[in-house]
Symmetry: C2
Subunit: 188 residues, 2 copies
């Protein structure tokens, strides 16, 4: 216990999510997370600054993955098709194995205003990063913001569906369908 | 001074915005705002809970106005056309006379993380209210969220353009153009 183990981060995350679900985010302490994980609090702090970080420390990797997908989209791809590639690539993070944890995470965030604010900031940051990557592809200033924000709208709606209790479809299927739906609903 | 005057709220707001621009949000006190307005701090607190409220207390009226416009859109209007009506109606708040103040407000918010968070929450709340009003018109759960979020995307991008230093076009022209642009960029 307490030694570095390759799966410690995942064990902390699973333990924290369990406790958030059982006794709530507010009542969960780092000591309790560590005990549940069979590790030490000291080790916890090697991975996470605090218990909030358990919910958010994947954000940067998600953002980088989406930006990379956008950058790598074919040069001939339209702005919305480049965004579509980024949205689909996020599916690497949202497989069925992670869905139960994502469900708990979503309900914890929805119930806690501070966490909800942080989630909004995360989304705004992601939107700005995607817009920047579109501009680097030659898309105009405002067009890039519009398409990136529309992409984030699709992402948020699709994600909320994906974590829905009775939802069985995978994230990629849902996000592709949401994007198609938005395009149809806004068709000139 | 200190008595109720019909324009006190506007005088406080103008004084506060001047001070925010001159010495920054952080360094502006309610006492200084009152002094600049030629009114008392006690009167200030009849209108605003604190100096942050000077920047945000119009939010509810804006939201109600936009929701009302959406509700009153013709029954035959498509979801995106109903949102377009709400976006255009917001122009009642954003006339050329208010543009200089809106410019300062935007730069104050952009420079202050707490205020920026609050602005993000305001936008998320507005989006949820518009989605709810779409559902009341019979639009499906996810479709309503998608169209409302797309509308907020257009609103944010248009507003940022409207407060741009060299921008001369009016808000309604910009928002209509932004919406048309989004529809074109996402056309299937």
């Amino acid at each position: 216990m307490g030694r570095w183990e390759p799966d410690s981060e995942d064990r902390f995350r699973a333990a924290a999510i369990e406790l958030f679900r059982e006794i709530g985010f507010e009542h969960t302490t780092v000591a309790a997370i560590a005990q549940r994980a069979g590790l030490t609090a000291r080790t916890f702090f090697r991975y996470f600054a605090d218990k909030r970080e358990v919910l958010f420390n994947g954000s940067e990797r998600l953002q980088q993955t989406m930006v990379d997908a956008l950058v790598q989209a074919p040069a001939a791809a339209s702005p919305i098709d480049a965004i579509a590639a980024a949205l689909a690539k996020a599916g690497d993070f949202f497989d069925d194995e992670r869905r139960p944890m994502a469900r708990v995470r979503s309900s914890v965030i929805a119930a806690n205003p501070d966490l909800y604010e942080r989630e909004l900031i995360k989304m705004a940051t992601l939107s700005a990063a995607l817009a920047q990557a579109l501009r680097a592809r030659g898309v105009g200033e405002s067009d890039a913001s519009l398409v990136a924000e529309a992409g984030i709208a699709v992402f948020r709606v699709a994600f909320m569906q994906w974590v829905g209790e009775s939802e069985r479809r995978g994230y990629v299927e849902i996000v592709n369908e949401s994007l198609a739906r938005l395009r149809m609903l806004t068709a000139p």
